[in-house]
Each structure stands twice: as structure tokens, then as C-alpha cells.
């Protein structure tokens, strides 16, 4: 089996960006292999060990990325190829995937491409799915388990897990699997002397520079800016008892809540756009419980963005449309929902689903397409974009639509201290993903006007898929307790579980506890997790990265406890408390 593992060199610490070009100054930061790419190499090595063949590490980047490729060779790759050429510079996710697809074609006879699901710098999770679409191969993302004989993969989906047997050639994107190996000393030393291939434009089948780099990239960073912090209240450095008293008051007295305000999408100044188009479209998604909440939120968002200027449409792809689901679609308030039903669409599969969505998009020619930032939506959007040769902006936290139909997309980047405004100046449609809870679902008064139209779409063969049972992704309660990296000891989680139970709260966490393997990702708040909109959010030991903060915009009241009085989250909290999270929780339970 010929396996290609895509690896990327990423900045390992605070990166700086060029405010003129919106591109990263790579020289300003130490570099390392993207953490999930270690898992990709590990997955590739396990498959190689069982099935034999060859493992090739592939990367695109500056010459310094050779270090990352040498590390991949030390981990077991027999061959390494660096795509490095001035023509490749400044590529967005779509063009990066295009360039990689060209290299894979040039390598030839590749059976399997393994990627890390996302990278720590861009965090878009688009490249694997765009790459598969551009190769015309099936893809399977969010892989959490690999079965070696027969070769099969288990992935996370919304509310379920799915298993697919390999259908080669294909692309898989792996999340955190077992801790990846560390190279042996002999392998590290040997990798330094192994030949490494550097390929430029002329080594790829498509040699025209117009298909590569910044000039070919559909998306452009219009502007980047540091997130501003304005302190709401000075952090309260009180004694333990006083802190606990305040916290208990917040937890027990619903009158203390600020009345919820119906959240609307971030209001952004209008700007002058160029293109015109008459409709906007949301890719709707359902699971075994019915229409997903993020779909309702997207419908509300489209209605709000269009402000009557654009027709609002939805597309739903599935195997059947039971009456309750039909009612939910009708209740969205969109002008029209296009429904494609086929027995092949029982379980999400990025390639055929994106082909069905493509048929709808081609018929409708919308200015904007939105998808939920769910495992399914984040696979569908880049695959669809690849078919349309357009770009995707992942995980937007702000959107603005001009009269001319141009979409200003805002998302945090590079650890969250920076916000990026992104445009898709030429290519259409403009595609963005939005996370659950980032925008509110509103009751619609237009139910009676919504039409449902059915359509059929040709599509590729689906993967041999099966679901492995459903799990209830419990919606967050009105009161959410979230814990973060300040928690040093896994055993102390039980303390917060007891506190959450006592307060009838949902217990959630920040990203670092998921990375430590202490929590499932379904309980993660933030850019790569979910958004929450509780009446009261109490955070313990969470510093407050912009990624986390982007997931709590909907919280009506924020109480934050942190030992560090300079923790960013204390600037945003309605009640910022300085103290030891464990002591406060212990005392809270005692009192």
C-alpha cells in the first residue's frame, strides 16, 4: 500500500502576522510539526506495519519545513517530499489542497492519504476534505479509531459514531488517537542523512503559476486586528469565604440573572461590495433526534443577514423526510427548502453529500452558502467549495452581507488573540461555516410561506458505512459550569461534577482538558468545540483565549474564577473573582 501522510510545520508559540498582507511572519516564531500530524504519521505507520508498502511524508512550506519532514522520516516515513516554490506562497486552504493534490498525482499510485484533522495555526480542518474532492476520492474525517484488519475507520458524527471500511484510494483525517510514538535515537540520526526531495512548480502536473499561491486563492484576509479587551469590573480579590458566598449567591438566585436579550448576529458596518446575486443558502442537517439546532440558527442567521434583500434557501440531504422533520423545516422561515432524498444518504458521507449539495447550488447560484461547523458541515463545506473552486471561511463568529451580496467573514486566528476579516472577492458562492450557538435561532413568523421543493442529484458511490449507536449530546442547561487548564489533577474533576450536580448545571470544559484526554470533545466550549448560551456561566481556572470567548458570546452572565488576576477572562466577566478554583469549589460544597 502506498500511503502519503500530509504534515505541516506550524508556529509553536505566539505568532506575528504581517498587517499588510495578513500573512504569517514565519521567522518570528519557533516551528514544530502540527500536533495532529504526529497522529497522522502514527496512523500511517500502524497501517503500514499491517499492510506493508511505503509511507511518504508530504509537506508544503518554506525550506525550514524540511525539519518537519525529517521528523516524519525519523518516525518511519521512507520518503519525504517538500513542496516549496515562490509560486506556492500565500495559498489558502483550497489552493493548498490543490497543490497537495497535484503532488499526489505526481507521486502516482497513492492508495491512502492521511492528514491530521486540523492544524494549530489555521484551525480550519478544510484541507483533507478539499484535497479528497479535488482528487475525486472519498474522504473520512474525525477519525478516532483505526481498525487494521480489515482496514476500517471510526469517526465522530453529530450525535453518533460511524464506521467505514476503507475504499481505496481515499483520504482520512485523524483526530487524537493513541499517543504517537517518539522516534528512536538511531532513527533521528539516520533521518538527518536521508535524502529529501524538494519539488517546485515544474515538478507538478499543472505547471501554470496562476493555479497556485495567493493569486489563485479564493479567500483573502482583508484585515487583521488584535482583540481588544475592556475590563468590565476590577477583579475581586476577596477571601475564600466571601468569594464562595458570592458564588453561591450567583448559583442559587435566579433573580440575579440579567434578563436574556435575544441575540442577533454580530452587527458589522456595511461595506462596498461588487458582485450581485439574489439568494443565500444554508446546508441543513438532521440527526436521529430531528433537525439540528445549528441548522435552525443558520436559518435565522440567513433571514437576519438578508433583511429581505435576498431569497433565503435551505438544502436538506437525507434518506427520508418524516413529518416531524418536515414540520421543522417548514418552521425555519426560509423562503424555500430544497430536499434531496435517497437511500444512499442514510449516513453522512462527504463525497456524495457534497455532490448532492452541488446540484442544488448550481441550480440556485446563491451568493452565500452556510454550513454548520459540525463534523458533517466542516467536511461538506470544503468538499463543496472544491467542486466550485471557491473558498471556505471556517467557524465564523461574525458575518455581514452587503447589498451587493458580498460577505464579510470574521473569525479568530492564531491562538485567538487576533481576529481576521476575510473576503471571497471573486469566487462564488462565498462559503462559511458557523458553530452551534454562535448565532441564535429565532422564532419565525413566515412558516406559511416556506416551500419545500424536492430534487434528485447524481452522486458517487457511498462508502460502506454503519452507525455505531447514537449518543445523546445533552444540550447545555441554563446554568453551565466550565473548568479549564487551572485544574492540575484529573481526580479533582469529581469535585466539579458534584458542584454541577448540586447546582443543576451542565459541566463543560475548555480545549486543554479535551487535549489532556480528560473530557470528551462534546463537552468542549470554544471555537473547536461548541458555543453555549446559558443564563449563567461560571468558569473555573479558564484563562479566556479568544477561541474560548468566541464560544460564550451568548452567555447572559459570566462569573469567572481564576488564580491569576491578569487572566483575560476576568476582563470580560460580570463577576471576576480571584482565587484558587479547587479551594473555592471544595468550600462551596461544604457550605
Amino acid at each position: 500500500m502506498r500511503i502519503v501522510v500530509c504534515v505541516k510545520q506550524v508556529p509553536s508559540m505566539s505568532a506575528q502576522m504581517d498587517p499588510e498582507t495578513g500573512l504569517l511572519f514565519r521567522a518570528s516564531a519557533e516551528s514544530a510539526m502540527n500536533p495532529l500530524d504526529f497522529c497522522a504519521v502514527e496512523a500511517g505507520m500502524q497501517i503500514l506495519k499491517r499492510h506493508g508498502g511505503e509511507l511518504i511524508a508530504l509537506s508544503m512550506g518554506p525550506q525550514s519545513a524540511q525539519e518537519t519532514l525529517r521528523l516524519a522520516m525519523a518516525l518511519g516515513a521512507g520518503r519525504a517530499i517538500l513542496l516549496s516554490d515562490k509560486a506556492f506562497a500565500g495559498a489558502d486552504a483550497y489552493v493548498t489542497a490543490f497543490t497537495l493534490s497535484q503532488a499526489i498525482k505526481a507521486i502516482g499510485n497513492v492508495d491512502l492519504v492521511v492528514c491530521g484533522l486540523n492544524t494549530t495555526d489555521g484551525d480550519t480542518a478544510q484541507v483533507p476534505f478539499s484535497l479528497a474532492a479535488q482528487l475525486g476520492w472519498p474522504s473520512f474525517g474525525w477519525v478516532k479509531l483505526i481498525e487494521l484488519e480489515p482496514l476500517a475507520f471510526v469517526q465522530e458524527q453529530t450525535g453518533t459514531e460511524a464506521r467505514a471500511e476503507a475504499r481505496l484510494p481515499m483520504v482520512i483525517a485523524v483526530g487524537r488517537i493513541s499517543p504517537p510514538r517518539i522516534p528512536t535515537l538511531g532513527a533521528k540520526l539516520a533521518a538527518k542523512r536521508k535524502p529529501l526531495e524538494v519539488w517546485g512548480l515544474n515538478d507538478l502536473p499543472e505547471k501554470s503559476p496562476e493555479f497556485y499561491g495567493l493569486r489563485a486563492s479564493p479567500t483573502r484576509v482583508k484585515k487583521i486586528y488584535a482583540t481588544k479587551r475592556e475590563r468590565k469590573v476590577l477583579p475581586l480579590e476577596l477571601g475564600l469565604n466571601e468569594t464562595v458566598k458570592i458564588l453561591k449567591g450567583e448559583l442559587s438566585d435566579p433573580k440575579a440573572f440579567i434578563e436574556p436579550v435575544i441575540a442577533t448576529p454580530t452587527q458589522l458596518p456595511d461595506w462596498n461590495g461588487q458582485a450581485k446575486s439574489g439568494s443565500v443558502l444554508a446546508c441543513l442537517q438532521a440527526d436521529h433526534r430531528g433537525l439540528c439546532l445549528v441548522s435552525k440558527e443558520m436559518a435565522s442567521l440567513l433571514i437576519s443577514l438578508s433583511q429581505g434583500r435576498f431569497e433565503t434557501h435551505g438544502v436538506f440531504i437525507g434518506s427520508d423526510l418524516p413529518k416531524p422533520l418536515e414540520d421543522e423545516l417548514l418552521a425555519l422561515g426560509l423562503d424555500c427548502v430544497h430536499v434531496c432524498l435517497d437511500n444512499d444518504f442514510k449516513i453522512f458521507d462527504a463525497r456524495p453529500f457534497s455532490e448532492a449539495a452541488l446540484a442544488c447550488v448550481k441550480a440556485l447560484n446563491p451568493a452565500v452558502v452556510l454550513a454548520g461547523a459540525t463534523p458533517e458541515g466542516r467536511a461538506l463545506a470544503p468538499a463543496l467549495a472544491a467542486h466550485l473552486r471557491t473558498g471556505v471561511t471556517a467557524d465564523c463568529t461574525g458575518l455581514s452581507l452587503s447589498d451587493n451580496g458580498e460577505l464579510l467573514q470574521i473569525r479568530p486566528a492564531f491562538g485567538g488573540d487576533i481576529m481576521a476579516q476575510i473576503l471571497t472577492p471573486q469566487a462564488r458562492p462565498q462559503i462559511a461555516t458557523v458553530r452551534l450557538g454562535a448565532f441564535s435561532a429565532l422564532e419565525s413568523a413566515k412558516r406559511s410561506r416556506t416551500k419545500i421543493k424536492r430534487f434528485q442529484a447524481p452522486h458517487s458511490q457511498v462508502l460502506p458505512l454503519q452507525t455505531l449507536g447514537h449518543f445523546e449530546d445533552e444540550p447545555a442547561k441554563d446554568l453551565v459550569i466550565a473548568i479549564g487548564g487551572g485544574l492540575r489533577d484529573k481526580a479533582a474533576i469529581s469535585l466539579f461534577e458534584k458542584l454541577a450536580e448540586k447546582a443543576n448545571a451542565s459541566l463543560m470544559c475548555s480545549r486543554c482538558l479535551v487535549e489532556r484526554g480528560w473530557f470528551d470533545q462534546s463537552r468542549q466550549i470554544g471555537l473547536s468545540g461548541r458555543s453555549v448560551s446559558p443564563k449563567l456561566l461560571v468558569t473555573f481556572g479558564i484563562s479566556g483565549s479568544a477561541q474560548f470567548l468566541s464560544g460564550i458570546k451568548g452567555a447572559k452572565r459570566l462569573v469567572s474564577i481564576n488564580l491569576d488576576k491578569d487572566a483575560p477572562i476576568l476582563d470580560f466577566a460580570d463577576v471576576p473573582l480571584v482565587g484558587d478554583m479547587r479551594e473555592i469549589a471544595e468550600r462551596c460544597l461544604e457550605m
Binding site: 517518539i182 533521528k188 487548564g485 489533577d489
Partner: protein, 467 residues
């Protein structure tokens, strides 16, 4: 100064898991407020216990009545000038490392608890993975005396000779030994700054320090060698420590219990999340740290280590090697063992002396001491820094840990080693140190205490009672 109340109970503990008591608490935000607190305490005869981030393992920050004086709220500042980091002592090590990293600089010494304050590291004489103590790199020091006055010490300006030292425009007369055996006892030729480093908050407080920084070495490597027996590990360590000295900056041996503890803590300890399972049948491990600018030289040194490892019975497939930023995954194994030990103790809720005592001396014959200690340990683990003879041993559930600790202290001293070489004396070892001190050493301690702290507000009951 405010009276202690139960709302401030966190000031009674540190990472030693000891718990003390306090009558007063002060958390000054400026040097002026700090000096006022010192003066007030001295005038009122109140004992002072200084606290940084309370991360020490010897109980140095655990108050024994009197005033708990916390420094964590002092204003923080950092600046690089002429290769020196000018920092307030309240800056946390992690903050300083990030600041230096942005400028591609590092400390020569590398203590590993990032939450510890620079002042705390200085006060306890902390070392880390490498052999260099943090305080040895300090070039200038602004020191708050227990009287509330300040002293500016510059390296090379004041050193101990056989009759004492001249500071504050006066001579402190005492019989200074040729070699020091305890923190707080000077030796002839010792710089005042090095003496104050390790004085455990008994003679004053570091306010600002100027500490040497170095350009980040072009190459840095962490290598773990796993072996099937302790004998193989020690044989490898002996051979390795004689070779590669130009680049080898640290070499630690972990015993089987240390590896087991780390394996057991894998699910709970965040630092272990990227560490795979240790190779099967590993009984012991050696952790080497190499650094330098000469890439070819360092690779040659590593090849040499690999040869020695094979000669000691090791298999190349039982090694882990990581360089640059990746090396930071493996290097903290020693620190993680300490964290894992504390987690075990928290789980067991042990409160006896067994958990409060550790052996962390330096020995003239470290490998023999390490081997012997393995035979006498009932439960616990051992880690050995081969290059400077430091042994760390945590003792669990021993009936009479004091006897074992005392035995190894005597052995360290008899071999010309050092008692309590890493974490300071704290409260855990102070009585034992006084018991072991010679009349000459006691005389020296008393004279210095009288000069620095005439009201005995910081050296408190420890010296008053014992001397």
C-alpha cells in the same frame, strides 16, 4: 498586615503538603509596602514566613505562627539589558521563560516548576534538570533585610573568607569552613549572592535580580534510554557521564518505581498526554539532555551514547530522541515524577511524616548511594542526577522515614556531599540540619543571623531554639 482569618487558609500550605499556622497575613503590592511590613514585624517581634508561589517541596513557605508574607502580588517587571534579565522577584519562572524565548534566550539553570517565582527559586537554591543552580547565575541582587532596609549585592564585591565577610560597612566575624555542607552555612571564597541563594527566607527577601541569560543553543536534545535492569542503567550512566561532557548537560536515572508511578499517572497528569507507553520490560531509564551549537559534535556525542547504551545491554529500539521544541515533551519526566508523587499522596490522604520527608542530597559516590538506597527503601522511588551526584527519593508509607533520611544525610556529609541540595531545608529538614551541624557551623550560622536579622523576625524559632 491583616489578622489571619480562615478565608486566607491557602497561605498555610505549600506543595510539601505540610500545613502551618499564621496570626497575620500581608500581601504587599509594592516594595515600599513590603519593607513597611518587615519593619513592623521586626518592631513587634512577629515571626515572618516568606511566601512566593508556595510551590516548594520542603515546606519553606509553610508559616509557623506569626506573619505569612506573600510576595505574589508584588508588581512584576522584566527587561533585558546586556544579556542580563532584570526582573522583579515576583515574576514566575514560566513568565520569564516565555519572555526570554521570544528573544531566543534561555537561562543556564533550568528549574522546572513554571509557577515558582524567581525569588522563590533563588531563596531555595533550586536546581532543575541541569546541574547549574539558578542562584549561581544571578549577577546582582536587591535584597530586603529583615529590618526593612535594603542591600544591593553585586557578584564579586563581597565574598566569605576564613574569618567571615564584610558587608553593611561592617565585618561579620565567624569561622567559615572550607566547604559548605548545608544551605545557609557559607564556605571560604563563596560569593555573598551564592550564599543568600538557598537561605530559605531566613536572612531576607530577594526583591530584584539581574540574572545571566544565554542565546538559545542551536541544538538541544532530550534522549530517554530504557533498560531491562537497574544494574544496566547504572553501568550506562557511569560510562556516559565520563564521555560527552562537552554537550551532556544532564543525565538522570529513574528507578523502576519512578517509571511505574509515571505510567500509572498517565491518564491524570497532563504533562504525560503526549508520552507513549514506556517500552515493555523497562526496569529503569536514563534521561540525557545535550545542547550546543556544534551540530556535528553533538551528533557524534549522541552516537557515542548510543554505543555505550548498546554495550550496557540496551537495545536501540528502546530509546526515544527528540530535539528542539519536541525535546520539551520528554525533558519534564523528572518534574512529572514529583507531580505524580504528590498526586499519589493526595489520593492516599497521607498525613504522616512519611510524605514530608524526601532525600535530595548530593553524594560523593552517588551510584553506590543510589543502589544502597534501593535496598533500604520500603516504598518510594529514586531519581539520580549522575553528573552532580544528586539523588531525589520520595518515601511513601515508611514507619520511620526520619531514620532513613538521617542515615543518608550522614552518608552524604561523610562523603563530602551536601545535605538537602535541591529544595532547601524548609521546615522539613531544619531540625535535622541543626542536629548535624558542627559547633563551628553553628557559630557561623549564629553570627550571620545576628548580623542580618538582629530581631530574629525571619530566622525565627528555628535558629532561636536550635542554636
Amino acid at each position: 498586615m491583616t489578622p489571619y482569618s480562615s478565608t486566607l487558609s491557602s497561605v498555610l500550605k505549600d506543595e510539601s503538603r505540610m500545613e502551618g499556622k499564621a496570626l497575620w497575613v500581608s500581601q504587599p503590592q509594592s516594595v515600599g509596602e513590603l519593607l513597611d511590613s518587615l519593619k513592623e514585624a521586626a518592631e513587634k517581634g512577629i515571626d515572618i514566613t516568606v511566601q512566593g508561589s508556595r510551590t516548594g517541596l520542603a515546606g519553606g513557605a509553610v508559616p509557623a505562627g506569626g506573619l505569612a508574607l506573600g510576595l505574589s502580588k508584588l508588581k512584576k517587571s522584566m527587561e533585558i539589558k546586556d544579556g542580563l534579565l532584570l526582573a522583579s522577584a515576583s515574576v514566575a519562572l514560566g513568565e520569564a521563560k516565555v519572555y526570554l524565548k521570544r528573544q531566543r534566550l534561555v537561562f543556564a539553570a533550568d528549574p522546572s516548576e513554571d509557577e515558582a517565582t524567581l525569588g522563590g527559586l533563588f531563596a531555595t537554591g533550586a536546581r532543575g534538570l541541569k546541574t547549574e543552580p539558578f542562584g549561581r547565575q544571578v549577577q546582582e541582587l536587591l535584597w530586603a533585610l529583615p529590618t526593612g532596609e535594603t542591600l544591593l549585592a553585586r557578584r564579586g564585591e563581597a565574598c566569605f573568607d576564613s574569618t567571615g565577610i564584610r558587608i553593611f560597612n561592617q565585618s561579620i566575624k565567624c569561622p567559615v569552613p572550607v566547604k559548605s555542607r548545608f544551605p545557609g552555612v557559607p564556605f571560604q571564597g563563596q560569593d555573598l549572592i551564592d550564599f543568600l541563594s538557598g537561605s530559605d527566607g531566613r536572612l531576607g527577601i530577594a526583591l530584584n535580580i539581574k540574572v545571566k541569560t544565554f542565546p538559545k543553543p542551536k541544538n538541544s536534545w532530550a534522549i530517554a534510554f530504557f533498560l531491562k535492569s537497574e544494574a544496566q542503567a547504572l553501568s550506562f550512566a557511569e560510562a556516559a557521564s565520563d564521555a560527552s561532557r562537552e554537550f551532556l548537560k544532564a543525565l538522570w536515572i529513574f528507578d523502576q518505581n519512578a517509571l511505574s508511578l509515571l505510567s500509572k499517572s498517565r491518564a491524570s497528569l497532563s504533562g504525560l498526554k503526549d508520552i507513549p507507553e514506556f517500552p515493555s520490560d523497562s526496569d529503569s531509564a536514563a534521561l540525557a539532555w545535550l545542547e550546543g551549537d556544534d551540530e556535528e559534535g553533538i551528533e557524534l556525542a549522541m552516537s557515542g551514547l548510543l554505543d555505550l547504551f548498546s554495550e550496557s545491554g540496551g537495545s536501540e529500539s528502546d530509546t526515544w530522541a527528540a530535539e528542539g521544541i519536541e525535546a520539551e515533551k520528554i525533558a519534564p519526566l523528572k518534574h512529572l515524577a514529583e507531580e505524580a508523587a504528590n498526586m499519589e499522596l493526595d489520593k492516599a490522604r497521607l498525613t504522616s511524616n512519611a510524605i514530608r520527608l524526601s532525600i535530595e542530597n548530593s553524594y560523593g559516590s552517588p551510584i553506590k548511594a543510589f543502589r544502597d538506597l534501593g535496598e533500604s527503601l520500603v516504598q518510594g522511588y529514586r531519581i539520580l542526577s549522575v553528573l552532580d551526584g544528586r539523588i531525589h527519593a520520595r518515601l511513601f508509607a515508611l514507619q520511620d522515614p526520619g531514620k532513613l533520611v538521617l542515615g543518608y544525610a550522614l552518608r552524604a556529609l561523610a562523603e563530602g556531599g551536601f545535605f538537602a541540595s535541591d529544595y532547601g531545608l524548609g521546615k522539613a529538614k531544619r531540625d535535622m540540619a541543626i542536629d548535624l551541624a558542627s559547633p563551628q557551623e553553628k557559630e557561623c550560622l549564629m553570627a550571620i543571623q545576628q548580623a542580618f536579622d538582629p530581631a530574629s523576625s525571619m530566622s525565627n524559632r528555628f535558629f532561636r531554639a536550635a542554636l
